[in-house]
Subunit: 380 residues, 2 copies
């Protein structure tokens, strides 16, 4: 096991009716700005619940953080926040609103341009914020991560902001999500686990078991949610799984990969592919191309998650990869670039971008532009 | 899933050589008291490491917190702390030193007598503290719990203190533990999980999987540790397992039991039985007596942890309980009262104590004095 430091300060406030606790969670004496996406919270009742919980409190609202939040939008929120002396934020929405709010929290506390904060990769100074999560998927409600898009250059990069002080997770708010949103959320959670799990074997028995535990849970609930997306316990498991998939709990003392995410971000930046969907396309390709490197862990994954015990090692590895792709498809997602009308041109742009930046991703930092090309070609 | 609030602020600093980080973890401007047990840290080099890490810093030391820490000892530490204006503690030792230090942290911040704090059950005011853990077992390094003994009345009760600000876990410090200490530590961790897992089924797939993940890991490492107690990765898994077994991570949204602990505490209070060992004796009895109530979960436990898939449901339940007892025995622990020369008199004292206090423990609060008698009689 590698040395590690773990500390996750976020208070998780989970369950029915918990939005009503907002007024006790947000300090009394702050200048509050609430951030939202495009307006779905006005339709599903969440906006009403938030306003009711904060009745009598003063706050301003910032609307319009889009899916794959754009720095151009967030700069406006930062300017507004500075003018209004905002010193506390509440993000109400899905992963994009939360990710965007992390940059607003950093931008208000800084003189740097917001995009430069993203390029720097982290921010020491941030005003505090809490969240009301409406779309289980990214884990942003309980981690430091944030991914921001710059529209004018079609770039999308991850960086590290700060942890929310609290996050309210009421599974009932998921009842109005579309099938596609849920599919992407489940794919996102599942892939987050694979990024932290399909690496060098034997680093930690416990982290392996916990990763497999999230995978098995997501696999078990996915078909049931299709049948009954208003079953409270199912949606609670889904919501908790998405949080636990990416809140540092399953990565103690182990290496991580994230090459699939880096390639997926490019698909989203260039084609607007929903994040979770981009991962469903890329992950099977990553596994096909890196299957020798990931051989032992793929065997373990196949056995423990898919109960694959027959055949030669190579057959079992291939079967595990096939079943991974099948799982994504079972959610209702396509897993091939051609199904999304993404062709060779995009593959070449991504290859060129990686090569020009001189980057190499993955656990062993060997996913260069050329390897990314190979991965994407295997996803055609 | 039940509503829940989760927040665990402890910073876990895990790995080789991490004790050297003490000076960056403890604020510069505090009046520090370091607390220890009986002196094993002077033999295994931990005391030297702590002193080296804090070279140039001023601090006082309090020695002699015993196994099953006694309020009588802790009152002396509290008095000393008050006289010396101590406002930060560092606990260096096993679960007893850490539990005792939680009471010192509360006592220094309070005018109440220390035993009254224990009887009250919690403490709002505590001075901050960090820990250097030397015996993986109780999870005290990352939770609020503390169990204190009052020697004069042979009473032992749990109460809730505060989380350590940080805990340093260096698996190398476990190399000098005795076989019995390791056996008790593994039994303790295993039982902590069972207390949070063998309850009403179907509350959370994820929490079930994570609980099973810790159980499977502990079962897997236990025989290997016997063979090689200086294997770093094994001891790292052991150390992390003990922490994750009782740091709130596997109890989100689920009910808990803890009847076995309540009965075990009595055995320790009356006979000095090591905590983990007392659990190894009582837990199989609890399961035998409550096997109807825990039927469905015992079936799941048997299948997923012991791979029991043959026989009638009743046979599988019985087999799961048998294998639990066998696991404790495989650690090198006895599991019967008669093996420890504990007889009927003790059973009657415990029954009387529970009845006089009017308490009833367990998930369904039905473990009264008379049920405790039944459990203990099944452990003879």
């Amino acid at each position: 096991m590698k040395n590690f430091i773990f500390q996750n300060p976020t208070k998780l406030v989970f369950g029915k009716g918990q939005i009503a606790r907002l007024s006790e969670l947000i300090p009394d004496d702050v200048n509050l700005m609430i951030t939202y996406g495009g307006g779905s919270v006005t339709k599903n009742g969440v906006h009403e619940q938030v306003k009711a919980a904060l009745k009598g409190r003063k706050f301003i609202e910032f609307w319009g953080i889009e899916a794959n939040p754009q720095v151009e939008t967030l700069r406006r929120a930062i300017s507004l926040g500075k003018i209004e002396n905002i010193n506390y934020l509440l993000a109400v929405g899905g992963g994009s609103v939360l990710d965007g709010t992390k940059l607003i929290a950093a931008g208000i506390a800084s003189d740097m341009d917001a995009w430069n904060i993203v390029l720097k990769g982290y921010s020491e100074n941030n005003i505090p914020f809490g969240t009301v999560l409406t779309v289980p998927a990214t884990g942003s409600e309980m981690n430091q991560g944030s991914v921001i898009t710059r529209k004018e250059t079609q770039e999308k990069y991850g960086w590290m902001g700060t942890y929310p002080q609290f996050s309210i997770l009421d599974p009932e708010v998921t009842y109005t999500l579309s099938e596609h949103q849920i599919a992407c959320g489940l794919a996102d959670a599942y892939t987050h686990v694979l990024e932290q799990y399909l690496t060098t074997p034997g680093q930690s028995r416990l982290m392996d078991r916990w990763a497999e535990g999230v995978l098995l849970s997501v696999m078990e609930i996915a078909p049931k949610i299709k049948e009954n997306p208003r079953d409270y316990n199912l949606m609670a498991d889904y919501m908790l799984a998405a949080t636990l998939a990416l809140n540092d709990f399953i990565r103690m003392g182990v290496t991580q990969d994230w090459a699939t995410h880096q390639i997926g971000h490019e698909l989203t930046a260039l084609h607007g592919t929903t994040h979770g969907h981009s991962l469903a396309i890329v992950m099977p390709g990553t596994l096909r191309v890196l299957k020798q490197q990931k051989h032992d862990k793929l065997l373990q994954y196949g056995e423990r998650v898919f109960s694959i015990t027959e055949g030669s090692e190579q057959e079992r590895v291939d079967k595990a990869i096939e079943m991974t792709e099948e799982f994504y498809r079972s959610l209702g997602l396509t897993t091939r670039l051609s199904e999304e009308n993404i062709g060779n041109e995009t593959i070449e742009i991504i290859t060129k971008r990686f090569n020009e930046r001189g980057v190499a991703f993955g656990e062993n930092q060997n996913v260069t532009g050329n390897v990314a090309r190979e991965i994407l070609k295997s996803c055609v």
